[in-house]
Each structure stands twice: as C-alpha cells, then as structure tokens.
Amino acid sequence: MIADFGYGVLVVTLLVTLYSVFAAIYGESKKSAALVESARRAMLLTWPLLTLAAGILIYLLINNHFEVQFVYEVTSRSMPTYLKVTAWWGGQAGSLLFWSWLMSAFASLVTLRKWDRDREFLPWVIVVACVTLAFFLGMTIFFENPFAQLFQTVDGITPHTFQPANSILFTPQDGRGLNPLLRHPGMVIHPPMLYLGFVSFVIPYAFAMAALITGRTDDRWIRITRRWTLWAWLFLSAGLVLGSRWAYDVLGWGGFWGWDPVEIAAFMPWLTGTAFLHSVMIQEKRGMLKHWNMLLIILTYDLVIFGTFLTRSGVLSSVHAFAQSAIGPLFFGFIGLTLVTSVALIFYRWGALKSETEMTSMLSREALFLLNNLLFISILVVCFWGVIYPLISELFTGQKVTVGPPFYLRATGPLFAGLIFLMGIAPLSAWGHSTIKTIGRALWKPAIGAGIITVLLFFYYTRNLYAILGFFLIALVILVTLYEYWRGAYARQKAQGENVFVAFWNLTKRNRRRYGGYIIHLSISLMAIGILGINLFQKETQGTIGINDSIQLSGYTIKYKDVASWDNDALGVNFTRATVEIYDKDGHLLGDLHPRKDFYFDSQQPMTIPGQLASLKDEVYIILIDWQPINQASTTFKIFVNPLINWMWIGSLLFIVGIIIAAWPDEDPERVAVRAGKELKQTSAAD
C-alpha cells in the first residue's frame, strides 16, 4: 500500500518535471515572465516530492518490508539500521532514485540564487536540468521501479508495479542482504560522493547550454558556474579516493586501483572536468578556447551519464558488476541525443565563440594550459579506447579482445609524467608571452634542488630508471610550488611588514584560486609518490606457519601468535581473527596486527579484512588466508609490503583541503559593486 503511494509520488514528480520543461520553453517563446516563473516554481516542487518518495523508500528499508523487491534484494533482518538506510544506493533502482533526488536538490539550489543579472539564462537552465531529471525519473518509473512488489501468480513469484490479476502479495521471511563487501564505511559514503560529483557537473553544463541557446557566449556562464564546477570536482575526487581506499581495505589484493571498466567510467568525467577547470581560466583571462570549453563541459556531462549507467549495469565485465539491467539502449540513446544536440548548438554559435586573441608564444601560460588539456584528453582517449576495445574488436574481427591494467599503465604512464612536468613549469610561465629565459630564471633553483634529491635517491634508495625519473619530476613540482609560495609570502612580508605565517595566510586568502591550486598540485605530487611506490616497489610473500613461527619480508619479521574464531548471532557473522606481531630489522616490536576473515551467514560469503601497519616509509599489509580451527598448528598468511603508499592517502587529504580553499565562497565582487551602487543611488535620491 505504502509502496504504491511511493510510486504515485514518483509519477506526480515526473509530471511536474515535464510541466516545468514545457512551461519554460513556451513561456520563453511567448516572452511570458509569469510562465517562466511558474516553471521555476514547478522545479522547486520536485525536491520536496522526491524527498517524500525517498523517505517512503527508507521507511520500507528500515522496517523490513520484504514484499518490496528492492528491499528484499538489498537488506536483511540482521543488518543494522544505518546500513539499511544506506542500502538506498546499494542497488540499481535505489541508485537511480538517489540520482534524481540529488539532481532536483541542485536544480532547486541554483534556481534559488539571485537571477537579476542573467534572467535570460533561467528558462534554459530549467529546461536542461529538468530534461535530465525527467530522463532519470522515467528510467525509475518505467524500468527500475524501487517500489515494485512481489506477487505470487500461477507462474511463480514475480515483481510487479501493479498487482496482476489472480495474484496475492508475497512477503519473503528475510531479505538477501547487502553484499558483505559493501558493508564498509568507505562504501557507505563512496557512492553518494561520486554521485554528488556526477550530478553537480550537470549545473555548469546547463549554464553552458543556456549560453549557447541565448547567444550570450561571453564568459558569464563560466563565472557563474566556477564554484559549482569546483565543488563538483571536489565531490568527484573525494568519491574516487574513497573508492580506492575501500578497494585497498576490503578487496584484499594489496592494491587500490585495478583499471576496472567501472573505475575508468568514474575516472573519465574527472579527466574532462579537470581539463575544463584549467581551460576556463584561459577563456576568462584571454578570451580564447571558447569552442573547446563548450566541448569539454558537454563531454563531461555525457561521461557523467555514461558513468552512472556503467557503474550500475553489467555491460562490461567488472568486479563492480553487482547490478545488471536492460536499460542500456535508453542510456545510450539519451547520451547520443544530448551529445548531438549540444554539439549542433556549438556549430550554430560557431562565429560568436571566436577567440578574441591569438596564441603566439609556445611557452605562454595559455599554450602550456592547452598542452595540459591535450594530455588530459589523451588519457581520456586511452581510457575510452581500453573500455570499448572489446566491443570494437568484436565488431570488426568477430573476436572479443580485451586489454587489462598493463595496457593502461603503459599507455598512460608517459602522459601522466608529462602532466606532472607541466605542473612544474606552468605556474612559472606568464600569460601572453614567456621564453625559456624567463621560465629558466624561476626554474633553476628548484631544478638544482630536485637534481640533488634525485642523486641522493639514486645512491640511497633505488636504481630503477622509471622511479628515478618519476621522483625527479615529483621533486621538481614540489620545490617549484613551495618556492613560488615562499616568494609570494616573502614579497608580502616585506611589503606589508607581516610575519611569515600571517603573510602565508593572507597570500592564500587574497588569491585562493591560485594558492588553492598550488596546494592541489602539491597534493597530486604526494599522491604520485605513493602510486610510484606501490607500482614499482611492492613486495609480497606468503607462507603457512605455526604459532611463534615467523616470516621475513623487506626487513620486517612477521610472527604468528594466535588465531580465534567465534560466532556473533546478532550480526549473523562468524569472525576469525589472527594476531601477529611485527618486528623491524633490529628486532624491535612495532605492533600487533589482526587480519580477519568474517563469514556472513545470510549471504554465505566471507569477507577478508587485512591487518595494516602504516608508516610514512611503507605499510605492512597482511591477509589471513587459512587456518586450522582445532589445533591452530598452521595458519597461512599473504603479506604485502607497500612502500610509500601512505603518501597517496596523505596527498588525498591535502587535495581535498586544496579544493576547499579554492572553492570556498567569498563575497561576489559584482554583488558588492551592485550594493555599493544601490547605496549610492539611495543617497543621491535623498539629496
């Protein structure tokens, strides 16, 4: 009954959304401000409606309404309440509703802003946001209804939205429960973060389309959406990092990124989004690359839709394929339609998007930014090629051929190295014109520093050529960035008489975008250290040992002490927990680790939880493989030593801080100007 009500709310929301699209277009064509306002209000109504629908779904999830198919599939009685709530995005139908809910929230947020200065964008932003929303709602209502219920008919038990004739409602005793692998804090917040990132990229796209349709192709749309884009980027980045951390902690293969098609699907919009963030600066400063920016935001939007589809469907073989469904053709239809329409709009406005200046110097800031964009897009092309190669090869040769991680590592490695090198020199270049001489003047000190560090690493750490090259580039970026930061602060300190820390603080505050960007560059360098470390120096071993026996790896001694196994009936889990002691080279005890294996009765599936001993130098990562329950005589462990991996996570945290600094809202200078103008008018009126 209540499920039917939830479905009804979804249908009403779809009708309201469609009305909003219609009223905005019709109102705009008839120049009726009242109709456009009506469209805006209709759009504002969608969020309360979808919140109601989501509330109903959560109610059903919490209260074990297993007659609802979705509830049956993703929850079970033994799951704690918070996991039942988060099961909302644990399956395809719920994920799509979650997507719609976020979409309407963002659309509402953006329509609540002050529109005085760009009224003409409003109807088209509404149209784009609501068409996207309507597509996802339509998917939910017609194909992936989270409120479908199980009915028993003569043919068996099948899910239906409406009760079929001669059937009775069927309520299973218990649900199947969320896959144990997904019952992890990282997995609880990773999907919403990723979705927040995905959905918020729709907003800059909506403004870009509005700019193309209305012909207001100056950089107004970019200025309005700059913060949106940064927040979208923040969420998407955080989602990717959390997903990596989940894989590292839960999947137990000692790594965090497997170049799985689903990971790549989430990574692709990040690539275009990052390119977009850089190239809009060229348009703002120099009035160039306008076609290119449009193309980038369109690509990002369609890659977001593609990513949403891929992460929740089984089209490509992947460890992420927890869900499968037949909505693929519709997704591809929608992607094709929006792509063709948007690109057609670019051609329609081709003349208006002409560059205002010409690029002259190969080493100017804009040329280096363009190169950065080309590298990002090249990585995108490599990723896209890898994902679709099985489909292409099957089409042309009848033989499915796939590529795996070695392909991506080999093809993207030089491109990533190029990007890191650019991070080192681009901040030193000037807009308009730079020469080797001007860049060299700022570069030589950091370059010498990086050279010294590299030589030291060569003698004391590694002789691996790739590692040496990689560490040199990373050291260069870090030193250049710190040097630039220091130069700015030093200049301020002298000019303003501030002490160093105040100077640093004020410097960042005055130009948050620039210095937030530097922090992001620094953090990427730190992450690169971790990525190099785990890819080039990971060590692994395994062994079956008895109590008080030990295994050596990379200077560590791993001593097995104990294993215990017990059931927890309330959770429906059997825990097996080993205790091992880790000693360093000199025999000092570094700590105890507890690798675990949990067995979930409801899904009959084990879950492996590694024991991790982290330090800045490396991390000991131990997996419990097998044990003798009775005499504990022999227990098998797999052990990894992952050098430098923790720089990856430190870099990730710093990365988030950097984006927050760059994206933190400050008072809109134009509004300050407007307010000042108003006060001026008032005083003059009083005169």
Binding site: S317, M359, S378, G404, P414
Partner: protein
C-alpha cells in the same frame, strides 16, 4: 607561420598518443573467449594472453593453503548477451551450465588468496594462458555472483 608552430606541435602529440595506444594494445591485448571457443582453437593458442569466462563448479574447488594453490573447473557459458537472455538471464545460464554434465569444461589453476566471491555458480573471468597440458594457468581471477545478488526472482524463498 605561428599557426604552423602549434599545428606541428599538435601533430607530434597526436602521433605520440596514437603510437602509445597502438603499441600498448598490440603488446598487452588478451583474447576474450568462451570455453567452447577455446577448445575449438586447439593448440594454436597455447601460451597466448587469454581471458576466459565460465561458470564455477562448486564441487571441484580445491584449495591448498600451504602453497596457496587454487584449483577449480569452470563450465561453458555463452558469451553472447542475446543467447544469455533466452536462457533466462546470466544467473539461470550459470545454474544450467553447472548442472549440465555435457557442457565443455576447463580446469583452472590460480596461485594466490582464495577470493571471497568464489562459490558454486559464480561467473569466473580468468586471465592468463593455456598450458600444453590443457590446464588454464590464471594470473588474475575476477568473480561475479549474480545468483545471490541480482537474481530477479526469489525462487527458493518462502
């Protein structure tokens, strides 16, 4: 003149990227085969990079924790989505494949931790090479469990 400079630079980058993609594809690609296709090819594909999908037969799973050697058999499942649909979806197709003794089978050997998702009627996607002995030596083992999580209809429930 100025345009040429950027044009040549762009061409160089484009060439480099094309080279990277083509050479990497050539050196790392793996044939994705079903078990029937694998057997049809005979000895011509011994020691090539392969990726094979099949249904895990639960009774055949053996694990030697001392050497971390995992051995199991997989049964042929169609690689064609349309074919899978007519068999009633992946879950049913996997179920059928395991029950049907006339299906072609392949023995897989993998050294490493036993994956959490390895169970009867899971879909295994193994990457590695076929030995001259007809055994598949996997370097990588991916598993999907549609039976438990994405089966449309709860047949056994209630």
């Amino acid at each position: 003149m100025k345009i040429n400079k950027f044009f040549i630079g762009g061409l160089l980058i484009l060439g480099a990227v094309v080279y990277l993609i083509v050479s990497s594809t050539a050196s790392t690609s793996e044939y994705f085969l079903t078990i029937n296709e694998l057997h049809a090819k005979g000895s011509s594909i011994v020691d090539k990079n392969l990726r094979v999908a099949g249904a895990v037969i639960g009774d055949t799973v053996k694990y030697d924790p001392a050497t971390l050697t995992l051995t199991f058999e997989v049964a042929h499942v169609s690689g064609d989505n349309a074919q899978l649909e007519t068999e009633g979806g992946l879950a049913k197709a996997l179920h059928q494949a395991v029950l049907d003794p006339s299906r072609e089978r392949m023995t897989v050997v993998y050294v490493g931790p036993k994956p959490d998702l390895l169970r009867n009627e899971a879909q295994a996607i193994v990457t590695g090479h076929l030995g001259a002995d007809g055994i598949f030596y996997a370097d990588e083992l991916l598993l999907k469990c549609p039976t438990k999580y994405e089966e449309a209809v709860p047949n056994q429930a209630g």
